[in-house]
């Protein structure tokens, strides 16, 4: 049987994708290594999360007495209930990673300047929403893990002067994590955040097209191809692969569920959700006001300020800015990895004890200052070796900081045991 491809024979999925794309795209724009399909993967993950999330709502009961039990019932008594929960759980985890990788991709291809500046802001907003989704979702099972992780994180704003305490109590619906908190988080998670997300995501897509598509390595060599089938087939393949992979993982690995939440007993050790693990490790080393207020404000401020700088058009779209960019990346990430790790050890075994015997009030300033000095040292080294300009400096600084965060996270997740002591 032969059939000519006609518009009518496209499935719903294809027709939908065609709405999002222009009719023609540049050949190099749809090379997989240009974007790694990460934007599309994020979009698909959101769809999977929304569908599984809505289904979960049919059995989930948002009260402290019944939440835990409703999840047990879902897992043990509902046909494919466990699979549904696992699918939601693993997709949520994966989305933090893929969104972060997407962020890295657009950052290191310098796709955040001029007409893409606004989309970088929306993207940062989307990333914040993803973290908010994960954090509010984390509380819903109401087990020991969720209760204490949320207790710790929801106390963090206390270190923000003046507004902090009000903010904490506002989010929690009171001074403690209780039924009010659960209801707040449930409503945020299943109605307010999804709404905001859909709005931001639509704007995000619109702006990608308004900027005439993704940035290209060599924009001069244009060779246009039609979207159907060239791009759509790739998207469908990636989507299928992703979905099958998630399904397999969800069949093999169950989402964790600890004992029922007990407000009178903090488990030892207690660990923050993994994407906040670096923050938790930071809190062990530096003063809480630095960790919770100063460092995040400086870093986020930097992310928002940077794209307002005037970059040269010819560097936009080049991976790592130029030819030596990759070497700068490798140097700065390796140096940062090594220094952060060493500083953690030195601080844990030497500085902390020394300072305790003086006064706990000075806690955490010394390692912070050492870290800043080390960073300046790395930058000077790069200046000498590579003669870096302003934008290479931005990239190096960004690399140093996010490598440190990764190191802190790994230490927190794998090297901290009872009483948060280091284990080797």
């Amino acid at each position: 049987m032969t059939s000519k491809p006609s518009k009518k024979s496209y499935g719903i999925f294809t027709t939908f994708l065609l709405h999002l794309h222009p009719p023609m795209v540049d050949k190099s724009a749809i090379k997989f290594t240009r974007t790694f399909g990460l934007g599309g993967i994020n979009a698909l993950l959101f769809v999977i999360l929304a569908v599984t999330g809505v289904l979960l709502r049919f059995s989930y009961i948002p009260t402290p007495n019944q939440a835990y039990e409703s999840i047990l019932n879902l897992q043990n008594q509902t046909f494919l209930g466990g699979l549904l929960r696992n699918l939601h759980h693993w997709s949520a985890k994966l989305m933090v990673i893929t969104a972060f990788l997407h962020l890295l991709r657009v950052f290191f291809t310098q796709s955040i300047y001029f007409e893409r500046k606004r989309n970088w802001f929306y993207g940062l907003g989307l990333f914040a929403l993803i973290l908010a989704f994960n954090f509010t979702g984390y509380l819903l099972p109401w087990d020991q893990l969720s209760f204490w992780a949320v207790t710790v994180v929801s106390n963090m704003p206390y270190y923000i002067p003046f507004v902090g305490e009000g903010l904490s109590n506002f989010l929690r619906g009171g001074p403690d994590v209780d039924g009010h908190t659960l209801l707040n988080f449930y409503n945020l998670h299943t109605s307010i955040l999804p709404l905001l997300f859909v709005v931001l995501m639509s704007l995000h897509f619109y702006l990608v097209r308004k900027a005439k598509g993704v940035t290209l390595e060599n924009p001069e060599e244009k060779e246009m191809v039609i979207v159907m089938p060239n791009l759509v087939i790739r998207e469908t393949l990636v989507a299928l692969g992703l979905f099958i992979g998630l399904l397999l993982v969800s069949m093999l690995f169950a989402a964790p569920l600890l004992e029922y939440a007990n407000p009178q007993l903090s488990p030892n050790p207690i660990k923050a959700p993994w994407y906040f693990a670096g923050m938790q490790e930071l809190l062990i080393h530096i003063h809480p006001t630095l960790a919770i207020l100063v460092v995040p404000v400086l870093f986020i401020g930097f992310l928002f300020w940077m794209p307002s700088q005037e970059i040269k058009r010819e560097n936009i779209g080049k991976w790592f800015y130029n030819e030596q960019g990759k070497s700068i990346l490798i140097y700065s990430s390796l140096l940062s990895f090594f220094f952060t790790f060493a500083l953690v050890l030195i601080n844990d075994y030497i500085i902390a004890d020394m300072m305790n015997s003086l006064t706990p009030l000075l806690f955490g300033w010394i390692p912070f200052i050492i870290y800043i000095l080390l960073t300046i040292g790395i930058i000077f080294f790069l200046k000498k070796k590579f003669k870096i300009d302003k934008f290479e400096l931005f990239n190096a600084l960004f690399t140093i900081i996010f490598t440190s965060y990764v190191v802190l996270s790994l230490i927190s997740i794998y090297l901290r045991g009872n009483n948060m002591e280091l284990i080797f």
Binding site: F170, G174, P263, Q264, S266, P267, I270, P288, M420
Partner: protein, 153 residues
């Protein structure tokens, strides 16, 4: 059709104002709820004073506090919540340790090792007919330990 004001701008501002008002209301409401629980003066009955031994820390899990009886018979009542980020501290021989980021406190509630930067919150204590009672509804923040915080029966 002409309009005195821009309709789209009007609706946009209206929606923003409404959301703002709602958020503001919730924000200030959250202060109020806390104040009310503060006024609620409830005393937790610990029991006869004579049962308490010197130089000991007693846990009162259901009341969410620890009693620390000092060597001279002075008594302090501490909230179980770590002043760092609110985990429940565990009693040791001579003080407390927090399982979350390993802050430790001595029997006066003073910080022995950070990340906590404030001494443990205290509760008021009173003795009536030889029975010790603790006001565990109203945690008092303090930056450091002072003698005046100790209750002598």
């Amino acid at each position: 059709m002409t309009m005195k004001f821009n309709r789209r701008g009007f609706i946009k501002k209206g929606v923003i104002a409404l959301i703002g008002a709602q958020l503001g209301y919730l924000f200030f409401d959250s202060f109020k709820r806390k104040d009310q629980s503060d006024k609620d003066q409830k005393w937790f009955e610990v029991g006869p004073l004579s049962n308490l031994e010197k130089n000991t820390i007693y846990p009162y899990q259901s009341g969410q506090f620890y009693l620390s009886v000092l060597e001279d018979g002075g008594i302090l009542a501490f909230s179980v919540k770590c002043t760092h980020l609110g985990c429940v501290i565990q009693a040791q021989k001579d003080g407390f340790i927090c399982p979350c980021h390993s802050s430790s406190f001595n029997k006066y509630g003073e910080v022995m090792s950070p990340p906590a930067t404030r001494a443990l919150d205290t509760f008021d204590i009173k003795v009536k007919n030889g029975i010790l009672m603790v006001n565990n509804q109203n945690a008092k923040k303090r930056s450091q330990f002072e003698k005046s915080q100790i209750t002598y029966a």
